[in-house]
């Protein structure tokens, strides 16, 4: 069909399509030229996520370990003191699982806590298990099975148990899992934790009441309560 000027319809469309084809090919060329760069490969990035999460869990739990500390006391004369008292001293109770309603021993000691680590992006949420065990060169570990002498050499013995904490050092181990049903951890990280200081803190029972520090500043030296143990711990390699 011809239009008024005897030109075939459709010729303009062909030209337009040809131009569009040229521009589209240039755009496609731009697209294939662009590519994304990554600092780490995905494995290294994920390892970093796991390690940082594990370190934070260790630091958090370490800072709360004063709740499990039993200060050693002078043994009273009389029977039973060594067998009853010594096993709980320092972190001994923790190592036995005294602070758990369902003590769960495992490959890395006694289960101390379990939980989830939430990432902001929501796609890399992790599950962790935190274990506590006695350090392998605790004298009690090395004297495992022999007799400990009682008070003043009296006829009182206890068998040394590897879970006696005689040096105030324990090993915390974190296992990181990709979810709470996974059985193989993606990261296992251990640190030795040791006591670096202990202090009895005196505080007033009322906010405006003087504590025992005699400073006349109407402030105690600790938190609410009359006497508290403030225990500081350190990672042995920090």
């Amino acid at each position: 069909m011809k239009n008024l000027h005897n030109l075939k319809k459709g010729n303009t469309m062909v030209l337009v399509l040809l131009c569009m084809l040229i521009f589209m090919s240039m755009i496609v060329g731009f697209t294939f030229d662009a590519r994304s760069q990554s600092i780490f490969n995905s494995g290294a990035k994920l390892h970093n996520f796991y390690r940082v999460s594990a370190e934070q869990i260790l630091q958090t739990e370490r800072s709360e370990m004063s709740a499990y500390w039993v200060t050693p006391n002078t043994l009273d004369s009389g029977g039973g003191a060594i067998a009853d008292a010594m096993p709980s001293w320092r972190f001994g109770g923790l190592l036995r699982g005294d602070y758990s309603t369902t003590p769960t021993p495992g490959k890395y000691g006694m289960l101390l806590s379990e939980g989830d680590v939430e990432q902001n992006n929501g796609l890399l949420n992790l599950h962790y298990k935190l274990w506590v065990a006695n350090n392998p060169d605790d004298p009690a570990y090395l004297m495992n099975g022999i007799y400990a002498v009682g008070y003043d050499g009296a006829d009182e013995y206890a068998i040394v148990d590897p879970n006696w904490d005689t040096d105030g050092k324990v090993v915390l181990t974190v296992e990181m899992f990709v979810n709470d049903t996974a059985t193989d951890p993606v990261l296992v990280l251990s640190h030795m934790v040791a006591v670096s200081g202990a202090e009895i803190v005196y505080a007033g029972t009322e906010p405006a009441q003087e504590g025992d520090d005699s400073s006349a500043n109407n402030q105690g030296t600790g938190s609410v309560g009359t006497e508290e143990l403030s225990l500081s711990t350190s990672l042995a390699q920090d």
């Binding site: 005897n6 010729n11 040229i22 521009f23 240039m26 060329g29 731009f30 030229d33 662009a34 590519r35 760069q37 990554s38 600092i39 780490f40 290294a44 050693p72 006391n73 002078t74 043994l75 060594i82 008292a85 010594m86 001293w89 320092r90 890395y108 000691g109 065990a133 006695n134 350090n135 392998p136 060169d137 004298p139 009690a140 090395l142 004297m143 495992n144 099975g145 022999i146 007799y147 400990a148 002498v149 008070y151 050499g153 040394v160 005689t166 040096d167 105030g168 050092k169 090993v171 181990t173 296992v188 990280l189 251990s190 640190h191 030795m192 040791a194 006591v195 670096s196 042995a236 390699q237």
Partner: protein
């Protein structure tokens, strides 16, 4: 005759000319944009490559600076026959600028996760008598109070142990350690205060016979293995000095309080007597890593256990400096014996005694800084000549400082 209307030759030529002009402009623009994207990609590659080097440094420094956990309190004697001048095992060593900046990091894959992976044993001499850990000392007995302790059967050729005098862990606290340290260098004077330790490799293992009086009574050892150590190699036991105090036969095992007979102290200490020796497994040769970073011409090479890996080429500047932990230590380095004038040290030979320099570096390194400059493979087109010649290669500089966790304070609780 039917004549079809079509484009005339003139129309075609004109449209062709217009198309060429338009397409020429488009292609020129496209070409410039393409070149800009390629340059950006090359620049990004440059940065990414350098960041990869820093990622490697971060990993190696993190792994090496963990050391041996609480055993970092010791100066662990070390006799690597392949290396001269390294008398102690330190995680950072070999800092030099000759012929170019270079540093060595070394560590074991050691995490104390369980007594099965890193066991500790009490140590006796074969005759139960006093001895000195001199070069090629005799075989030792690794002992257990458990009959047929299965852990003893895992001792194998190639295992690496740190043998140490237990006083530093069990008898001393940080005040006593401080009192035993040289106030200037912070190092233990082993002549005045022999608290020795050494790292050794197992050569052979056999059943051991426990000497008197350690083999009888309620506090006896029940099982022992006789362990012979290699005298040469990476962890040879040919130490140049005695490992601190002679080994003193301990009193029979049991609860012990310093200066008293066998009875528990007020704090219920279960202790070995002073000068008792112990052996802690820190790994095997397979779990040992010795990594050296150096610049060879314009190539950064990372050598791990004698295997080279090229990290990057076109490096125009590579500099490693180490920050020491406090002014006292830095003063010991930058005193009259040293030519370094800042708190960052670059070369062990700057000190008159390189052995003391190694000890300061190994014990008191606090941070490690890496400075890097890498040339790209493309020129800055803004200063090239019209014909494309001339112009300088673009380069990128980066530096990063890494923390070195170098704790060396014992955390013994008496």
């Amino acid at each position: 005759m039917n004549r079809q209307k079509a484009f005339s030759l003139v129309e075609l030529l004109i449209s062709l000319a217009i198309s060429i002009v338009v397409l020429g402009g488009v292609i020129a623009t496209f070409s410039r944009m393409n070149e800009g994207i390629r340059n950006a990609n090359k620049s990004s590659d440059l940065t990414t490559g350098m960041r990869g080097i820093f990622a490697m440094f971060q990993h190696d420094i993190y792994m090496s600076s963990k050391g041996f956990s609480d055993l970092n309190a010791y100066q662990i004697h070390y006799n690597n026959s392949a290396v001269t001048g390294e008398n102690y095992f330190y995680s950072i060593t070999g800092l030099t600028t000759s012929p170019s900046s270079q540093v060595t990091l070394q560590w074991f894959d050691y995490n104390m996760a369980s007594a099965d992976s890193n066991p500790t044993y009490a140590v006796l001499t074969e005759d139960g008598k006093a001895a000195s850990f001199t070069s090629s000392f005799p075989a030792l007995l690794f002992c257990s109070t458990i009959l047929d302790d299965p852990r003893l059967s895992t001792i194998a050729q190639g295992d690496v142990y740190v043998i140490y005098n237990g006083d530093l862990l069990y008898e001393y606290d940080w005040t006593e350690l401080r009192d035993n340290m040289d106030p200037t260098t912070g190092l233990i004077d082993e002549t005045a205060h022999p608290i020795g330790a050494g790292i050794v490799e197992v050569e052979s293992v056999s059943d051991g016979v426990i000497p008197d009086p350690y083999n009888a009574g309620p506090k006896a050892f029940k099982t022992a293995k006789r362990v012979q150590f290699r005298s040469s190699g990476t962890f040879g036991n040919s130490f140049t000095v005695n490992l601190g105090t002679p080994y003193v036969p301990p009193q029979p095992l049991g609860t012990y309080m310093a200066g008293a007979v066998e009875s528990p102290s007020a704090s219920g200490n279960v202790r070995f007597p002073p000068d008792s020796w112990f052996a802690r497994k820190v790994g095997t040769l397979d779990t040992f890593h010795r990594v050296t970073y150096r610049l060879d011409s314009d190539t950064i090479i990372r050598t791990e256990n004698n295997q080279d890996m090229i990290l990057s080429t076109e490096i125009s500047n590579f500099r490693i400096t180490v920050g020491l932990s406090d002014a006292t230590i830095t003063d010991a380095w930058t005193g009259s014996a040293s030519s370094d004038s800042s708190d960052w040290v670059t070369d062990e030979s700057d000190m008159a005694s390189s052995s003391v320099a190694k000890e300061l570096l190994g014990k008191h390194a606090y941070a490690l800084r890496v400075e890097l400059e890498k040339r790209s493979l493309f020129k800055d087109t803004s200063d090239t000549n019209a014909d494309g010649s001339g112009g300088a290669l673009k380069s990128r500089k980066m530096s990063q400082t890494f923390k070195v966790k170098n704790a060396h304070i014992p955390l013994a609780n008496k």
